[in-house]
Symmetry: C2
Subunit: 255 residues, 2 copies
DNA sequence: TCAAAATTATCGATAAATGATAAAAATAGA
DNA sequence: TCTATTTTTATCATTTATCGATAATTTTGA
């Protein structure tokens, strides 16, 4: 049926936030695969640490993902720059804020690093590691704006199957983001919250990303907005420079 | 050569903290596998997000691991309890401290959640997601102490290939930990640092873990130690209760 | 623009995956 | 503790995928 790594991916995909535990019988039903085969695949996944068995013949995700998350944090240029520059950015915002570094992933936009100011009580949807729709929100739009217009259009048509009306409206919006250097939306993702985002890109690395600030709408006024825009522009620049520099150094080392 | 998921694991394993980028040629040399085959496997890994390609025909780990780390944080009973109980534990320690929740993983001990008090400047080896040796340090020994003596002995002989002298000494130490309920070591892992750990277990879930406090040796005195022991005992209890309760509830829901 | 390098496609021989069934092990209940 | 039930592993013939050499194509860098 499925082949290659898809056999394993199908299994792992079942274990999402809503269904964290599965029995072999349940997987067999969900995947239309004999439990004979599943037992073999599951054993392999358990052996490498991607799954682990628990009581009552249930399985859940295994600790390997924590180990590999560390490897990403230590090595990925975008995630590393988040660890360095997000906290200073957060500290420049004079109101309670969540700052987010997000990137294109699988036709969606996913936060790969974040920072929350101590006073920020509100919940935000762009949580670390959570894929989000690409058509809504300043964070996502700023990511889209990093693609060349034609590439973005083809991407939206093929991967997102957006309607031509949506694409036309969005195209104008993206042009504005490219011109002004930032994107701002209010209540598009979370009610009562405002997102302000700046594009982050590295064509050499093929990185399409954005850095953004999320605050409560009631905190926002003209002065605050100017401070946020200035801080964002600086952070985006720093992150781009950091990625360029570190990867150039690494490439040099590897030679 | 390799079969099943091992084909993919061999590739991913190359991307550790020290060698975050690989070329196909490099992988071909390291794994003794034709680049024809590797290109196919790599493409599959890229498609699911476990790898991604970057400039100059290099590959690095992909963002899937961030997505699955989130799933673990949301669902794994041990990691979740860390998110809840580690901060209060840290706040009970009157000196700069790092608190660590660690578990058995692949014959080693790995931190799966941690918390650092604002004043703690020192570096600790038990970083989130980093496998550590099982024979040294209070954190590891407390984990070992959660296994029944005979199981621990067989485990040490087979998986760790420890010498019989090591096992004998360790056996006494583990007996003491089981009796007193905690483990303390000084400088065994990081020079100048002291680790104090309490066992955490859940036989139903097959969880062997520990919760520990790491402080500078110079911070430690009798009074501080008593406070730490008391806080640790409470935290360990809370974590065990939480895991028992949440998994019982989930099992009930699933029926 | 062009040469070199990287990546993908092709394909026959080989090796592995599948799933039905049986055997074994683990678990829960009396 | 013993037993019945469920879960997990092992076996095996058939089907299917994988391997790697080679060729074709695409991308990259000068």
């Amino acid at each position: 049926m499925a082949q290659g790594i898809r056999r394993y991916e199908r299994i792992l995909d079942l274990f999402d936030a809503h269904e964290p535990e599965w029995t072999v019988q349940g997987m067999s039903d969900a995947l239309n695969t004999s439990s004979s085969t599943l037992y073999r695949l599951i054993r392999e996944l358990v052996d490498v640490g991607m799954l682990e068995s628990t009581v009552e013949s249930r399985y859940r995700l295994g600790p390997l993902f924590i180990e590999y998350y560390r490897r990403i944090r230590l090595n990925d240029p975008l995630v590393r720059s988040g660890g360095i520059f997000l906290k200073p950015l957060m500290q420049q915002i004079p109101v309670p804020a969540v700052v987010v570094l997000a990137r294109l992933y699988n036709g969606q936009v996913m936060c790969v690093a974040d920072e929350r100011s101590p006073g920020a009580q509100f919940q935000t949807s762009y949580e670390l590691g959570r894929p989000m729709p690409i058509l809504r929100g300043a964070t996502s739009k700023a990511v889209l704006s990093t693609m060349p217009p034609k590439v973005a259009q083809r991407f939206l048509e093929k991967k997102i199957t957006a309607t031509s009306a949506e694409i036309a409206v969005l195209g104008m919006e993206l042009a504005t983001i490219r011109r002004t250097g930032f994107s701002e939306t209010s209540g598009e993702v979370d009610q009562g919250l405002v997102g302000i985002a700046a594009p982050v890109r590295n064509t050499r690395l093929g990185i399409n990303a954005s850095v953004s600030v999320v605050i409560e709408r009631s905190s926002l006024d003209k002065e605050i907005r100017l401070m946020i825009l200035s801080a964002l522009a600086g952070a985006a620049k720093m992150i781009e420079n950091f990625m360029r520099d570190t990867t150039e150094n690494e490439a040099a080392e590897a030679n």
